[in-house]
Symmetry: C2
Subunit: 288 residues, 2 copies
């Protein structure tokens, strides 16, 4: 099973390199290659494994898989900017605005977002025009001002809010900030096949929240060297997190319960969904 995920990671790297090859060697093209490199590729794995359950071949699902990775990479490049989270380190490497400059980082994020839509609507991805259009439409909604960007805006507003967020508010914030892209990733496969995306959407809704709770756990327990970025920032800033609100043990228990809920949501797929169950277990056990 680990081989399967390692294989997905290699294919994603190779595909992104191919797609970016014609972009030339200017600073933005180089920074795009740099920014999409590395990472755990959880979102890509969700696309490819979800698509497999609906009979969609890997060489088609690689397109939306790389689309969601490009979208995620754009969000990281912009989130790291000095006017946003002001982070110097990402995946153990200097962030784009540190390695190049702020203008290049803004443009690199912008171009990666466009690239995400180019790949989501690519004719070699979903077979029918209707499915390609649906992938682009739903990706736009997941990423935009009612999805990921809204979550990021709520996160920034929370930093200057007079009182810390409640558990309900943090849950809503995370549903946008990380949840929307994770749900899009898990449901891309049934969308490509024109099938019901309900079970995978319920799986992804629980998984996305578990993912974020574990991120908060890592921010408290993790080692910056292993994580590859600054840790302890939220606690230092006095920001409310799942850990600050629930306590460490209860946060871990909640993440585990959500991972269990995710696995139950896809029971209809039987043994075929074992890789997605393993992914759910990985999400709550990872230390980076």
């Amino acid at each position: 099973m680990d081989d399967r995920f390692a294989g997905i990671r290699s294919r994603v790297e190779a595909h992104l390199a191919d797609v970016l090859n014609p972009f030339g060697d200017g600073p933005v093209a180089e920074a795009m290659r740099y920014a999409v490199c590395g990472g755990k590729r959880v979102r890509a794995a969700l696309v490819i494994e979800g698509a497999r359950l609906h009979g969609v071949a890997d060489d088609r699902s690689i397109w939306p898989a790389c689309a969601i990775e490009a979208m995620h990479a754009y969000s990281l490049v912009h989130d790291d900017l000095p006017c946003m989270d002001d982070d110097d380190l990402r995946r153990g490497q200097p962030t784009v605005h540190v390695k190049w400059d702020e203008a290049t980082a803004v443009l690199t994020g912008d171009a990666l977002q466009s690239l995400a839509f180019e790949m989501a609507s690519h004719p070699d991805g979903a077979e029918t025009g209707a499915a390609r259009a649906e992938l682009a439409l739903t990706l736009a909604r997941a990423a935009g001002g009612q999805g990921m960007v809204l979550g990021q805006a709520l996160d920034i507003a929370a930093e200057t809010a007079e009182s810390p967020l409640t558990l309900e508010e943090i849950t809503a914030l995370q549903a946008g900030k990380t949840g929307a892209l994770i749900r899009w990733a898990a449901t891309a496969g049934p969308r490509m096949a024109g099938d019901d995306s309900g079970p995978l959407d319920r799986y992804a809704k629980a998984l996305g929240l578990a993912f974020q709770i574990q991120d908060d756990v890592i921010d408290v327990t993790g080692d910056a060297g292993a994580v590859g970025k600054a840790v302890g920032k939220d606690a230092a800033a006095g920001k409310a997190t799942f850990v600050s609100l629930l306590g460490l043990d209860a946060a871990r228990a909640r993440a585990a319960a959500l991972a269990e809920e995710a696995c139950e949501a896809i029971s209809c797929y039987g043994q075929d969904a074992e890789s997605l169950r393993q992914l759910a277990r990985f999400v709550i056990s990872r230390q980076t």
Copy 2:
């Protein structure tokens, strides 16, 4: 004919207001409404008039028309950022990062780009899924790292280049920076109808260059109050422009010849294309 364009402007404003209504009243949603407001709507008019020539009704073409206006608005919000062109004034109003802050401006541009793809792939736009997917795919290519963002990156690189750009280099830069979106706008109609987009693409290629030359003319001859943004910046920065390379009179003559070339490219449409010919004449005669 002026009534026709005024009608398009009103419909675009109303449609964007409708689409943005469910986005709520957070700062990013408010800044999105602010940023898409106003402007000449040349790109929207290109979509709607091009679509009309191919039998596509206005209530369908309004979707890609608003998509291209949202895309254009995002590019202005990011271009105005301190790390980019650092402009305080746009269309006579404070720019987004001045009225709100830099983080909000980054997120607003990001959300407007997503919104552009949501509208380009919207089921109420092009009738077939294939056409909607094609609109999203071609918009992504026009906007991204081989289109508009590449043009913007070349423009920034030119500011610190050791020698000013040549006419050929400026033409290539502008083909990305402004030309790509104008070509997408003019060809969206035939794409929606599944028709040949060749004549409108040739029209838009010439028109886009004429548009940019006139922008350079206005930067030299325009009045900041009327233009609604700073003028004379390029000359003050010693940047090569069509005016600095050709001289004012020859630049004007070149813009006029390109507008004529644009009109000839759509001769196949006969009298039906009169509105697009008027648009070409407007582009080279406008003073703002």
